[in-house]
């Protein structure tokens, strides 16, 4: 149990996928203008990332490794991720059309979110057992969602702040993101 908790903490905070590994910056800057859309995006990404981790592990160990086709790993992973994203898109569209409109292009773009591909690749690299890779994917996704929501909260405050014209908009967003990344360095050594 302790081991799992540590894994969760380490993936969500210490090795945060956005602020420490710098993966998935596109949605991090793109979908962080409002807290509620950021949370929805986080939930969608969490689902995709967890599913991708699990299915990629299964493919790796039951298909690619037995048949000796490890050279096709990235291709297969992307295929699976794309399918999961398509499925998520359908679910969101059915259940919440307004959210579907709000997420717009960013929803299919989860496919190209490098974090979603990166995490399964990392778990494979570290040769983790199934439960561990599932938790690794889930923990990273939770870390991603949390940082996205945090940053959206900050940007909501930034939107009403009086920012000098030269820094208004994206620049001050990047500055804030870098400060947030510095803050997350404080978690190093926690686990």
């Amino acid at each position: 149990m302790r081991e799992y908790l540590l894994l969760l903490l380490s993936t969500a905070l210490v090795n945060n996928v956005v602020l420490v590994k710098f993966l998935g910056l596109c949605p991090f800057m793109g979908i962080s203008k409002k807290v509620d859309t950021a949370v929805s995006m986080g939930l969608a990404t969490t689902f995709v990332m967890t599913m991708a981790s699990a299915s990629c592990w299964l493919l790796e160990h039951w298909l690619l490794a037995p048949l000796g086709m490890l050279y096709l790993r990235i291709l297969v992973y992307i295929l699976v991720i794309a399918a999961v994203v398509q499925f998520t898109e359908m679910v969101v569209r059915k259940s919440n059309p307004a959210l579907y409109q709000v997420l717009g292009i960013y929803l299919p773009l989860i496919t190209t979110n490098c974090a979603v591909l990166g995490i399964p690749l990392l778990t494979t690299q570290e040769n983790l057992p199934f439960a561990h890779s599932l938790l690794y994917g889930f923990g990273s996704a939770v870390g991603f969602s949390m940082v996205l929501a945090l940053f959206a909260g900050l940007r909501e405050r930034l939107a009403i702040a009086q920012v000098p014209a030269a820094f208004a908009g994206a620049p001050v967003g990047f500055i804030t993101a870098s400060l947030l990344a510095l803050a997350f360095m404080g978690f190093a050594g926690l686990v």
């Binding site: 939107a159 009403i160 702040a161 009086q162």
Partner: protein, 509 residues
Amino acid sequence: MNPLSRFFSGLRARGGVHPDGRKGLSAEPPIRILPMPERLYVPLQQHVGACARLSVLVGDKLLKGQLIGASGGNISAPVHAPTSGRVVAIGEFPSPHPSGLPGATVTIEPDGDDRCIEAVVPNDPFDLSPEEIATRVGAAGIVGLGGATFPSAVKLKLSRKSGISTLIVNGGECEPYLTCDDRLMRERASGIVEGIRLIAYAAGAREMLVGIEDNKPEAIAAMRLAAAGSEVQIKVVPAMYPMGWDKQMIQVLTGREVPAEGRSAEIGVLVHNVATAWAVYQAIRFGRPLVSRVVTVSGAAVVAPGNLEVPIGALAADLIAASGGLLTQPQRLVLGGPMMGTQLPHLNVPMVKGSSGLLALTGKEIGLPQPAPCIRCSNCVRACPVGLLPLEMAAHIRAADLSAAVGFGLKDCIGCGSCSYVCPAHIPLVHFFNYARGELAAQEKGKLRTEATRKLADSREERMQRIAREREEAARQRAARKAAADAAKKAAAMEAARLAATENQEELV
């Protein structure tokens, strides 16, 4: 008041500021009667609610106290002639409003006799039923004279319905410069006390409290003397702005807080201003409608500041002239107090029932500092008597996010101006809030309008379809009738032909 009780009552009042009172300018000279001006401009809308309905024509002769505008709805107040004379014009005239836009106004030329209309008054007003008193207060056109101008009769009737235990009479007068209530209490205390007893009787209140700020010792002494032997209790409250805000006064005097977006009646309290009590006394005891009020004329630009009893409709220029004119060109003209009053564009606006003061301020008195960025010092948070976050609200309003500002409690803001007063960056906070509330009200109105126009469009659509259907129906019926007629005609013709044929045959035979 001893320091200990001052400490505790200070704890009970939230927020607030201590602006320089500057009441000495106008507090000492007794109330003078304004010489009757040449013309009076009486607006029909001097109260919150529906506009009064005009009931005179140009050329009509009027007596003082005669009705010129009847109450225009459930929440409305009538308007009466301030003196005897003749109606010379009815039309638009600049109103005492920050926009300076014109409003419907009756112009009266006084005849100088000041003859009153006959009034029927009982020997003892307490013989009247409470409902009758409320009706008479309404008929006298009395509105809240503290500045809110809400029709007093409506308040009386509502409080009777909801059950009031305490009447609080507000002698706070916390705005700097203003001394009209102070002078009124000093000079006409016994009338005010009787007015208070009448209001309490009409509203069914058992407890009567008068809250007066401790910076008016003479008024306190006079009111104590007049109230001696009656159930009216005079309470001294610490001088602070906005002590005259009714909810602040309730909290200090009773220790109870009115819930957000609620009314004082919810906690069994009714609040009226001392000047309203005086007006009620005048109306019930002597049958005099509200046609004049005491106005403080002050400011460093005025030669002889003081208090004037002015007929409703006198121009601001008349008041200034009666106060010795202007020393210098004033930088700003304010109607009401400097904290919550409205800026006047010029002196050609009439005094109305809600005008408590007319200030001609010099540049030195107002200061025109440039606004600077907010440094989030939170002085405004400490000063807010409602307990809001003015800096957050203003930031959201500036970023055009009004719904977020509403979430921070914009609708509870009373616009007292304490936040703007303390702001070290001179940000016009209360201006932001006034703008936002106006904008929200306009949006609300617009939403209703959209709703209404959609209904209109839909019903028109339906009507058009119905008409088309009916036309079609009518056309079909016509066609059917025509076909039937044709068929009948044809049948008749054939019958005729057959008959003719048989006849021919018979002939042949």
